[in-house]
Point group: C2
Chain length 339, copies 2
DNA sequence: AAATGTTAGGTTACCGGTAACATGCGTCTA
DNA sequence: TAGACGCATGTTACCGGTAACCTAACATTT
């Protein structure tokens, strides 16, 4: 009977309107809570909405008028990392509160994947996008300019953002930790990290750390950057590498807490005392630090705040409310007991 | 000049077609790689696509014909958990390979949030959805039936799924671990977990574990289920609670590896030897286990496989290819050295 | 009482693609 | 060589909402 069933399941607005005995425009007004209808009319419409199990077709709505998009694209390097999870949770919750849906993509730390993802997401005409990572392909920048939509660059603080930047000052994190280590008298300092590509913000922390050492004219004794995701095992393994190469190390700065914990376990296994034999420090203030036998020296970052701020900045920009272009999210060095 | 600029940035298909000197239908065919055009025509169209920076409007496309949706909704309890991350990464990658976009939502372990999210996502008329968690509200089930779209229930194995189930057999995981502990002679066994609500699949593992104990007519000496996310600190804290309550415990089964590690740290701090004084076991085979001084007794789960299988099953169903309704993803008990 | 404003509600056109069908032209077969 | 066929391409209608505009009824002002 149904000729092709181009329509699936749900009723359409017209059907709801017809059942309620009003025009579909009136039904539309009721559902959008625009004004121009009586309580009585509203009741009639809502009754039919309920009865017919009407699910609005956001596609048609978005199609008709571009300003109505409730879609936000969010790109992160990875969903696996311990730190992006909380940020995404926070972003997701915040946008939900404001009535937006998020479409998350993982670009695996490659600007090319990011570009590919961006093309896909822009095809859905989102109201705005959140990007992370510091490098974009030239094409990415071109496309974004052409579409002229609000953009938040998140995670790394960018003083000349495409549009809005919300992030941590990674350079300062590294610099501060470098100074802290130096102030404690360490002289034979190593760095251990793990990166999949050049654009990673972790390297900015290394730059800051290096700068602190440079300021004291101190050479780093060893630098190990594994081609891998940051994690417990890379930390363990990286430590092994560094200590096999140069036994003369008195402090190690790790890319993040998971790697630092990996290093701690290596030291524990090999009878190396922390911080007497070797001092270690991480970054991120991850949950595991709360159970370590010795409080880890690290930098805590407010992932929840970052996500919330990024989302709120984007919403404000979408709504043409005033917003700062550059937003720093606070980080705090925790002295701990391992340095 | 532009009257309202309802259009943003990009060129439309009509503009591309006009520039190429063909009808928009022909341009559409070229872009969709449908057949019915010469190489020469294709070249003309592609040239203009390139020149004008054309980004197709997926909304309009999806609007016109419902079978074309390339959108997949994926719902998980949380983005923060260490285990869902890899699953999502894997899902995302797999769908990308098949030309679908994913829209991820976190439902915070509440069926009500899941329902809310589902309504939002269905408004976008996705080609299919992946849900996790075992409980859905009655309304959720109603809505899904009305929409008649392919569904994968993921994470927990469900022998009578709404459509397709891809998951781990949590009951067996628990049962196996129970048997394993019993086979090692432990008699005073406790369980420590952390849940935010009733629907959590973790409780199924507990059921299985309990069943193994029941089979040997053994009573659990203590059971601690914190109202929290699973994590290192809840594991630490839960252990403290249990051991303060009953010192007479010789083995603890934890909800997952993070909690087990938290417990390990508690024991380490209090001079409790593992496994001599207390045996511990976790679940998940998380990355941290690779650096522990003593190999953790746990159950490894193939998160990558789960994500890939879930995505592939959904794609097959969408394309009307044959698919099994119930797909078990393997789990493996790792004896380790802590039991 | 006429002019004016206000408000609920209807009408029309359109967003940008794609399915379905129509057309026109060259090629092959009987 | 007529007729049938195949193939590239054009034409039309439509998807489900919403903006913009219009109308009619009633209230308010002068």
């Amino acid at each position: 009977m149904a000729k092709k069933s181009s329509k699936r399941g749900g009723a359409t607005l017209s059907e709801v309107a017809q059942a309620a005995g009003v025009s579909k425009m009136t039904a539309s007004r009721v559902l959008r809570n625009a004004n121009g209808f009586t309580e009585e009319t509203k009741a009639k419409v809502m009754l039919q909405v309920e009865r017919l199990g009407y699910v609005p077709n956001r596609i048609a709505a978005a199609f008709g008028s571009f300003d109505t998009s409730t879609l936000i694209g969010v790109s992160v390097p990875s969903l696996t990392s311990g730190l992006y999870g909380p940020v995404l949770d926070s972003i997701d919750r915040t946008f939900l509160k404001y009535g937006y849906q998020t479409m998350i993509g993982a670009h695996e730390r490659s600007p090319e994947t990011e570009e590919e993802w961006l093309r896909a997401i822009l095809a859905w005409r989102p109201a705005g996008v959140i990007l992370s990572g510091r490098k974009h392909t030239p094409a990415t920048v071109e496309i974004l300019k052409a579409q002229a939509i609000p953009i938040v660059e998140m995670w790394n603080l960018n003083t000349s953002p495409l549009d809005i930047s919300v992030g941590f000052n990674h350079f300062d994190c590294g610099y501060e930790m470098g100074q802290f280590m130096l102030s404690k008298g360490y002289k034979k300092i190593a760095y251990i990290g793990a990166n999949r590509n050049e654009g990673s913000t972790n390297l900015i922390r290394l730059d800051g750390f290096q700068a602190a050492l440079d300021d004291s004219s101190l050479q780093m004794v060893s630098k190990e950057i594994l081609v891998d995701h940051a994690g417990f095992y890379p930390g363990y393994y990286g430590t092994e590498n560094v200590l096999n190469r140069t036994s003369d190390v008195d402090a190690i700065y790790y890319q993040d807490d998971t790697m630092a914990v990996g290093g701690m376990f290596y030291c524990q296994k090999h009878g190396i005392e922390i911080p007497n034999d070797i001092a270690i420090a991480g970054w991120g203030g991850m949950e595991i630090t709360s159970v370590l036998p010795r409080k880890l020296t690290t930098t805590t970052v407010a992932t929840e705040t970052l996500g919330k701020s990024a989302a709120e900045a984007l919403v404000a920009r979408i709504r043409n409310e005033p917003t700062k272009d550059v937003n720093v999210v606070e980080t705090r060095l925790i002295p701990g007991e391992t340095v």
